[in-house]
């Protein structure tokens, strides 16, 4: 999916995360988290897998994590990408 505009998804409430996304010529993911020392690798892995499943190869993502579960991270990244790609129809199989 092609990121064509800036978008936000999520919140900075506890157990959630805020994903900011913008068009860029290469893929960059910046993660800030209260639990970066314990779960930084896991969060990055979930974000990268999610972006890969959506075929996102370019874009700048800045993530403010507040201790979200993996399924919440997946949902918020997907939501931000859908908004930034202006996707009207969703192929739910790619979101699993």
């Amino acid at each position: 999916m092609k990121i064509v505009k800036e978008a936000l998804a999520g919140t900075v409430e506890s157990s959630d995360l805020l994903v900011k996304i913008a068009p860029a010529s290469e893929l960059t993911v910046i993660i800030n988290s209260e639990v970066i020392k314990q779960f930084g690798d896991q969060i990055r892995s979930v974000v990268n897998e999610t972006l890969s499943a959506l075929s996102v190869t370019e874009g700048l993502l800045i993530i403010e994590d507040k201790g979200a579960l993996d399924c919440v991270i997946r949902a918020r990244v997907q939501s931000a990408v859908m908004r930034a790609a202006q996707a009207e129809e969703i192929n739910w199989e790619t979101l699993r």
Binding site: A9, G10, T11, E13, S14, S15, D16, L17, A68, L69, C71, V72, R74, A75, R76, Q78, S79, M82, R83, I90, W92, E93, L95, R96
Partner: protein, 291 residues
């Protein structure tokens, strides 16, 4: 044993924190709300969040319900596409006025089940009755689909439609009776309205006692604090359980002796009394003894 549906806890579909923790409260059913509890600008993100929550192992052992938006809105069908594919147990349709509303819903569900390889018929439906016409049509609605597991009365829109307001329950008198009778005539469950003043425990318990005595299976809840109160109110008393055990023992003894008529403490014990005793023991097994 029949599935218990005493407590159905509403969760706002856009709340990551509540979706991540609600399973610990152990309601009989969890209802993710994509309708009124979600603002227009977050409909898309809530739908994706609920899609993932439904598939998470934390909800594997709890019946999951999703209140979708009405199919006449731009969101309803999108909600349905997501939640049926995610494996939701029950779809709650708001503002059900006629059987045709259910027919439209089940046609879409059947198509989606086929598309995603889910067993056709495995997605159940609950109809929420929220208007005077819905109450009038309650019997037809309750009997219109094998997918229906229950009908629920929803008070806020109903009282507005009736040009009244929420009060001591007088305003819901006819609707409660009508919805409950419709459910029983159709052999499905009946759910009462939410009690929105979470700090009024006494008022909540009064309402629970009323609907329990009327025969409702349970109630929609908006706060986890109400779950234990509700389950306890639905649990039989020690006296009820002791009597039920004596009834069952007398019935078994009568059967052994080949007696046509059984009596316990001078009172005749017949089929309905024995059946009720079995229901009391099943409730005690599920809910414990009332404290």
């Amino acid at each position: 044993m029949k599935k218990l549906r005493r407590s159905m806890l509403f969760l706002p579909g856009a709340s990551a924190a509540m979706l991540s923790t609600a399973f610990i409260y152990r309601p009989d059913s969890i209802m993710f709300d994509l309708e009124d509890a979600v603002s227009l600008r977050e409909k898309d993100t809530a739908r994706i969040l609920v899609f993932h929550a439904l598939q998470h192992p934390m909800y594997r052992d709890i019946e999951t319900v999703v209140r979708i938006n009405q199919l006449s809105t731009p969101f309803g069908l999108k909600d349905l596409e997501a939640v049926v594919r995610a494996g939701v147990d029950v779809v709650r349709l708001p503002k059900t006025d006629t059987p045709e509303d259910i027919f439209e819903l089940e046609a879409h569900i059947g198509r989606i089940e086929k598309e995603c390889g889910r067993e056709v018929g495995s997605t159940k439906i609950m109809a929420a009755i929220e208007s005077a016409i819905g109450v009038i049509n309650a019997v037809a609605i309750a009997r219109c689909s094998p997918r229906l597991i229950g009908i629920a009365l929803a008070a806020f829109d109903y009282v507005m439609d009736m040009q009244t307001e929420r009060g001591d329950g007088t305003e819901l008198f006819y609707a409660r009776c009508a919805v409950l009778h419709a459910a029983r005539a159709a052999g499905i469950d009946a759910f009462d309205v939410v009690y929105s003043d979470i700090n009024d425990e006494a008022g909540f318990l009064r309402e629970v006692e009323l609907i329990r005595k009327m025969g409702f299976n349970g109630k929609s809840l908006i706060n986890p604090r109400q779950i234990e109160l509700l389950h306890n109110a639905y649990a039989p008393t020690r006296e009820d359980v002791d009597y039920a055990k004596r009834v069952i023992a007398a019935a078994e003894e009568g059967e052994r002796k080949g007696l046509g008529v059984i009596s316990l403490n001078g009172k005749m014990i017949d089929g309905p009394i024995i059946n009720h005793a079995q229901v009391v023991l099943e409730r005690a097994s599920a809910s414990g003894i009332r404290r």
